[in-house]
Amino acid sequence: MYKLLVFAQLREQLGQLQLNLDLPQAEVTLADLLGYLHTHYPQQSAILDASRFAINQVYVSDLSQRVQTSDEIALIPPVSGG
């Protein structure tokens, strides 16, 4: 089970701060997580595509990056601080 933190409009739309993603395969990449999210939340596709991943609180733009179930994975929608 992969834990994914979501924020702002994604958190509101999905109704929770943390999603538990059940991907069966042994090796999972960020692209796999994004695909899973598109499949399960098709109405969120625009915001999913506009968001960036972070692994253990660091932005990762390479979607071929592998993730572990122990990682803190976050999906960061376009930011609006300041």
Binding site: A8, R11, I76, V79, S80, G81, G82
Partner: protein, 137 residues
């Protein structure tokens, strides 16, 4: 001094933090909630933050600024939660021996913060709400 807080911001502690006898320039920025945006009347803003990552990103920005300019100190404090019109959401202070460095660093820190730090604001209007997205530097 890099903080995320949920209480009203005061500038003086930041100014005190960056001041020193050899400093000749102290520059500061306060980002304030205004009562209009995109033609809409704004009632207040609600800020949300991914705090541990926001602090890391702010630290990275500050370190980049120290590497780019000869600075004495930088202080950055962002507020989260509900913030009313006229209240400050972010305060930054920089200091250096001469003004150019502190002014350049100040501009860099706020611009980069707005582009990368995982903080979000939601506008509340009379007739609706909207999550905002920073753009255009």
């Amino acid at each position: 001094m890099i903080e995320v807080v949920d209480t009203p911001l005061l500038l003086q502690p930041l100014l005190d933090h960056v001041s020193a006898p050899h400093v000749g320039a102290v520059s500061s920025f306060s980002g304030v909630v205004r009562n209009h945006n995109l033609g809409k009347g704004v009632l207040y803003l609600e800020y949300e933050c991914y705090a541990p990552m926001a602090l890391k990103e702010m630290q990275t920005i500050v370190e980049q600024a120290y590497a780019k300019w000869e600075l004495h100190q930088i202080a950055v404090v962002h507020r989260v939660g509900r913030i009313e019109i006229g209240e400050s959401a972010v305060m930054i202070a920089t200091s250096s021996a001469h003004r150019k460095e502190s002014l350049a660093a100040l501009s860099y820190v706020i611009d980069t913060l707005k582009a990368t730090v995982p903080i979000w604001k939601k506008e509340y209007w009379q007739d609706g709400t909207m999550w905002l997205e920073n753009c255009c530097g």
